[in-house]
C-alpha cells in the first residue's frame, strides 16, 4: 500500500536562503511530514563571537515557524574539514583548481547529512538544488533543473541512483523567478534575502587573504612559455587557467592570460591574447569518475559535457579506460580547460555523471604546462 504524504517524513536541508525555504514550503503544501535541518559545516566566528551561521539559523527558525514545521541544527564541521577542506587545500597545493561544492555534495550533504536524516526516521532528504530526479524501471536518474541558468547538476555529478532514490529536489521544475515569487506570495522571511555567492566557507571574504591563512604563498616569476620574464606572481595557488585579472602586465597589444603553472620551479605561465593557442586543447583525461547509472553508458559513447559551471554544453566522445578513468575527446577545441574542475556528462537532459579533470591534451600531447 502506498504511504500517504503525511506519513512520509522529508528532512529538508535548510541554509537560511530563499531556495531551501521554498523547497520546505512546497513539501509542506504537498502534505509531507516536513522537518527542517540547518547544517553547520564551517566555524567562521569572528573576534566578537558573531558568526554568519547564527543569522542564517535565525532565518531558518523564522521560516520554519511560518511553515509550522520542527527545525533542528546539526554540526558537520569535523567531517567537512576532513573530507572537503583537506581536499580543497591539497588540490591547491598540487597547483590545481578544486571544486569544493562537488565534494561537499558528495561527502557531506548526500552522505553524512543523508545518514543523519535517515537516523531521524526520514524517508527522503530534500534540498533546494535546481535539479530533478526521475525514476525509470527502478533506476533513478538525475535531470537538469528546468531553469538552465540555475541548473546545479554540475555540482551533483557524484550522486548515484541509490542516493537519488532517497532524494527530492522540489525546485527542479521551477525557474528561479518563480521561486522568489512563491517566497514573496507567502511572505517568507527569506523572500528578499540575497543569494549566497562564492564558496560557502569563504563567503564574502577576499579569496587571496583566506587562502593565505592556510597555505604559505610563494611568490615567483611570471614567464611566457618561451621563458621570457613578464613579472612577479604572488603564489601559484592564486591563479587559475584562463585568468586575465590581477596579472599586472602592462604594455601594448592584447591582454595577458594565465595559461599554465610550473609547480616545481614556481613559474606562472602567461601568454598574450584571449584566443592564444596555448589556451586551447582537444582532449582531456579525468579521474574519480562517477556514473549515476552505470548501465546508461557504454565503453565509448558520444554525449555532451560541461567543463565549468554555467558553461554551454560541448559535444564530446568519451572513452572509458580500464583503470576507471576516461579520455574525453572534444568535437571542437576547448579553451582554458582547468585541472581540478569537474567534467560532467549529459545525454540530453539527463546527467550521466562526471569526474575530475586531470590532464589536458592537444594533438596527442599532454600539456605539461597546464599542470
Amino acid at each position: 500500500m502506498m504511504k500517504e504524504n503525511k506519513d512520509i517524513r522529508v528532512v529538508v536541508g535548510m541554509s537560511g536562503g530563499v531556495d531551501s525555504s521554498v523547497a520546505a514550503l512546497l513539501l509542506k503544501e504537498q502534505g509531507y511530514d516536513v522537518v527542517g535541518i540547518f547544517m553547520k559545516n564551517w566555524d567562521d566566528t569572528d573576534e566578537f563571537g558573531v558568526c554568519t551561521a547564527t543569522e542564517d539559523f535565525d532565518d531558518v527558525v523564522r521560516v520554519c515557524n511560518q511553515l509550522d514545521i520542527p527545525y533542528y541544527s546539526v554540526n558537520f564541521e569535523k567531517q567537512y574539514w576532513d573530507k572537503v577542506f583537506t581536499y580543497f587545500l591539497d588540490e591547491y597545493k598540487a597547483g590545481r583548481t578544486p571544486n569544493p561544492d562537488v565534494m561537499c555534495n558528495k561527502e557531506i550533504k548526500f552522505k553524512a547529512f543523508l545518514d543523519y536524516a535517515l537516523d531521524l526516521g526520514a524517508d527522503y532528504l530534500a534540498t533546494g538544488h535546481y535539479a530533478q530526479v526521475r525514476e525509470s524501471n527502478g533506476k533513478f536518474k538525475m535531470l537538469r533543473g528546468v531553469d538552465s541558468n540555475k541548473d546545479q547538476t554540475y555540482f551533483l555529478n557524484q550522486l548515484t541512483s541509490d542516493i537519488l532514490e532517497k532524494v527530492m529536489f522540489p525546485l527542479g521544475a521551477l525557474p528561479k523567478s518563480k521561486v522568489r515569487e512563491i517566497a514573496s506570495a507567502h511572505g517568507l522571511a527569506t523572500a528578499t534575502k540575497k543569494d549566497s555567492t562564492g564558496i560557502c566557507f569563504i563567503g564574502e571574504r577576499n579569496f587571496k587573504e583566506f587562502l593565505s591563512e592556510y597555505l604559505p604563498a610563494q611568490p615567483g616569476e611570471m614567464q611566457t612559455l618561451e621563458g621570457e620574464v613578464k613579472g612577479k606572481h604572488d603564489g601559484l595557488m592564486y591563479y587559475t587557467i584562463g585568468q586575465r585579472q590581477g596579472l599586472g602586465i602592462g604594455g601594448s597589444g592584447d591582454p595577458w592570460f594565465v595559461v599554465g603553472k610550473n609547480l616545481k620551479e614556481n613559474i606562472l605561465y602567461v601568454e598574450q591574447g584571449f584566443g592564444n593557442e596555448s589556451l586551447y586543447s582537444d582532449e582531456l583525461t579525468a579521474t574519480d569518475l562517477n556514473w549515476i547509472n552505470p548501465d546508461d553508458v557504454s565503453q565509448t559513447f558520444s554525449c555532451t559535457a560541461k567543463f565549468r559551471y554555467r558553461q554551454e554544453d560541448s559535444a564530446v566522445t568519451v572513452q572509458r579506460l580500464e583503470n576507471g578513468n576516461v579520455r574525453v575527446i572534444f568535437d571542437e577545441r576547448q579553451r582554458a580547460i582547468t585541472p581540478g574542475q569537474a567534467v560532467v556528462f549529459y545525454n540530453g537532459e539527463v546527467c550521466l555523471g562526471g569526474g575530475t579533470i586531470d590532464k589536458v591534451i592537444r594533438q596527442n600531447q599532454v600539456l605539461d604546462y597546464v599542470g
Binding site: 522537518v35 547544517m39 547564527t54 539559523f57 533542528y72 554540526n75 537516523d119 531521524l120
Partner: protein, 380 residues
C-alpha cells in the same frame, strides 16, 4: 501522538490555582503600587502581602525581598550589585565553573571590569569541595557565589557548609537557588546566605518574575535607575499580576513540596527501570544520592545530543541537554566538562530529563519506552 514533557528544569506549566489567582488581578487591579490613591493602594496591598509570603518561604523578612524579572536578573543584581558596592573592601570574587550562565557570564563580565574571579572546580561527585573554597578565600574576597542545586545534573552543593565558613569573613555569600527552591526547604538563617536568587516559572508560576533575597544591611548597587521601587534597588513599575501568580505558586509549592518530591522520585525510578528492562546502555551523571528527586542526567554512550534531542522531539518526548546546539554550534556541556573532563564523551551524549506537574506514571513510562526505542535504533 501524545507529547510528553520531561523538561521541567527548563520551565514548568502554570498551576491552575496560579492562573485562577492571576485572572482577577488582570481584571480588577490595574493601579500603580506607587500611586497615592485608592487604585494604587490596592495594588500595593497585594504586593506587600505577596512579599510577606515569599519572605517567609525562605525564613527572611519582607524588606529583604527584591522583585526581579527572574533568576537571571536576580543573579546579575546579586553579583554586579555587591561587587560594585564593596569594591573598596577588595576585588576578589569566588564562584564555581558549574554555575548557570546567568552567574558565569556575569562573573566573566566582572573580570573584564577589573575584578579577580576564582572559579572553583568540581569533583567526580559533581560537588565543589569546601576545602577548595577555604584555599581560594583571601582577605580581599568580597563575594562568593555558589549555586544551591545545579540545573543540569540536579546535584546539591554544600551551601550550608560554605555559609558556615563565610560567617567570619567579610565576603558576602550568594546562592543561585533557582533549581533548589521547588524541591528543598530553604532557610536563609540556617544557610547563612546573604543573597539568594529565585524564579517563579520553575515552580509552576508565571514567567517574567523572580526575586533576589538580600539580607538586611547588605550594600547593593542598583543596575538600573528610575523610581524608588524596591528601595531603589530595582526601579520600574512592579509586575503586580506576576507577583500574585508567584505568591500563589509558592503557597501551593510549600503545601505540596513533600508529596511532589515523593512523586517525582517515583517517576525517576520508573523511568530508569524501563531503560534497565530494555537493556539500554546508560550512565547517570553525578551522585544519585545527592541529587534533587525531579531530575536525572543520563549519558547514552555511542550517541550524540543533537541527534538524540531531535529524535526525542519527533517522537513527542521533550527533554534537553546542557550542551548548546543552536545554529549547529556544538558546545559540550560546561557542567559535565567540569566534572568529567572536556574530552569525556558524556559531555556531548547526555540528556537531562526533569519531572514535574505535567507527568503521570503512565506518561513517564510511555516516554521511557519511546526513549529506549530510539536509543536502540541509534546504537546499532
Amino acid at each position: 501522538m501524545e507529547h510528553i514533557y520531561l523538561d521541567h528544569a527548563a520551565t514548568t506549566p502554570m498551576d491552575k490555582r496560579v492562573i485562577e489567582a492571576m485572572v482577577p488581578i488582570y481584571e480588577e487591579v490595574f493601579g500603580n503600587p506607587s500611586s497615592v490613591h485608592a487604585f494604587g493602594r490596592k495594588a500595593r496591598q497585594l504586593l506587600d502581602e505577596a512579599r510577606r509570603v515569599l519572605a517567609s518561604s525562605i525564613h527572611a523578612n519582607e524588606k529583604e525581598i527584591i522583585f526581579t524579572s527572574g533568576g537571571t536578573e536576580a543573579d546579575n543584581l546579586a553579583l554586579i550589585g555587591t561587587a560594585l558596592a564593596n569594591k573598596h573592601k577588595g576585588n576578589h570574587i569566588i564562584t564555581t565553573n558549574i554555575e548557570h550562565h546567568a552567574t558565569l557570564h556575569t562573573a566573566e563580565y566582572l573580570e573584564k571590569e577589573g575584578f579577580e574571579v576564582t572559579y572553583l572546580p568540581v569533583h567526580k561527585d559533581g560537588k565543589i569541595s569546601v576545602g577548595d573554597l577555604k584555599d581560594a578565600l583571601k582577605d580581599e574576597t568580597i563575594l562568593v557565589s555558589v549555586m544551591y542545586v545545579n540545573n543540569e545534573t540536579g546535584i546539591i552543593q554544600p551551601v550550608a557548609e560554605i555559609g558556615d565558613i563565610l560567617k567570619e569573613h567579610q565576603a558576602h555569600f550568594h546562592t543561585d537557588a533557582v533549581q533548589a527552591y521547588g524541591t528543598l526547604e530553604i532557610n536563609v538563617e540556617e544557610l547563612n546566605v546573604d543573597l539568594l536568587s529565585v524564579s517563579a516559572h520553575k515552580i509552576n508560576g508565571p514567567k517574567g518574575i523572580g526575586f533576589l533575597y538580600a539580607k538586611e544591611g547588605i550594600k547593593l548597587n542598583a543596575l538600573q535607575f528610575g523610581g524608588e521601587q524596591e528601595r531603589k534597588r530595582r526601579p520600574g513599575t512592579e509586575n503586580v499580576v506576576g507577583v500574585i501568580g508567584f505568591k500563589t505558586a509558592v503557597e501551593v509549592m510549600r503545601e505540596e513540596r513533600g508529596s511532589r518530591n515523593q512523586k517525582y522520585e517515583e517517576f525517576k525510578q520508573l523511568f530508569l527501570q524501563v531503560l534497565k528492562e530494555e537493556e539500554i546502555s546508560f550512565d547517570i551523571n553525578g551522585d544519585v544520592n545527592n541529587t534533587i528527586p525531579s531530575l536525572v542526567n543520563i549519558s547514552f554512550p555511542g550517541t550524540n545530543v543533537e541527534k538524540l534531542l531531535a529524535n526525542f522531539d519527533l517522537s513527542g518526548v521533550a527533554a534537553s541537554s546542557g550542551s548548546a546546539c543552536t545554529a549547529g554550534a556544538v558546545e559540550p556541556s560546561h557542567v559535565l566538562s567540569a566534572i568529567y573532563g572536556a574530552n569525556n564523551p558524556c559531555t556531548t551524549n547526555s540528556i537531562r530529563f526533569s519531572f514535574g506537574a505535567a507527568n503521570t506514571n503512565d506518561n513517564v513510562l510511555e516516554a521511557a519506552h519511546r526513549v529506549a526505542k530510539i536509543i536502540k535504533r541509534l546504537v546499532k
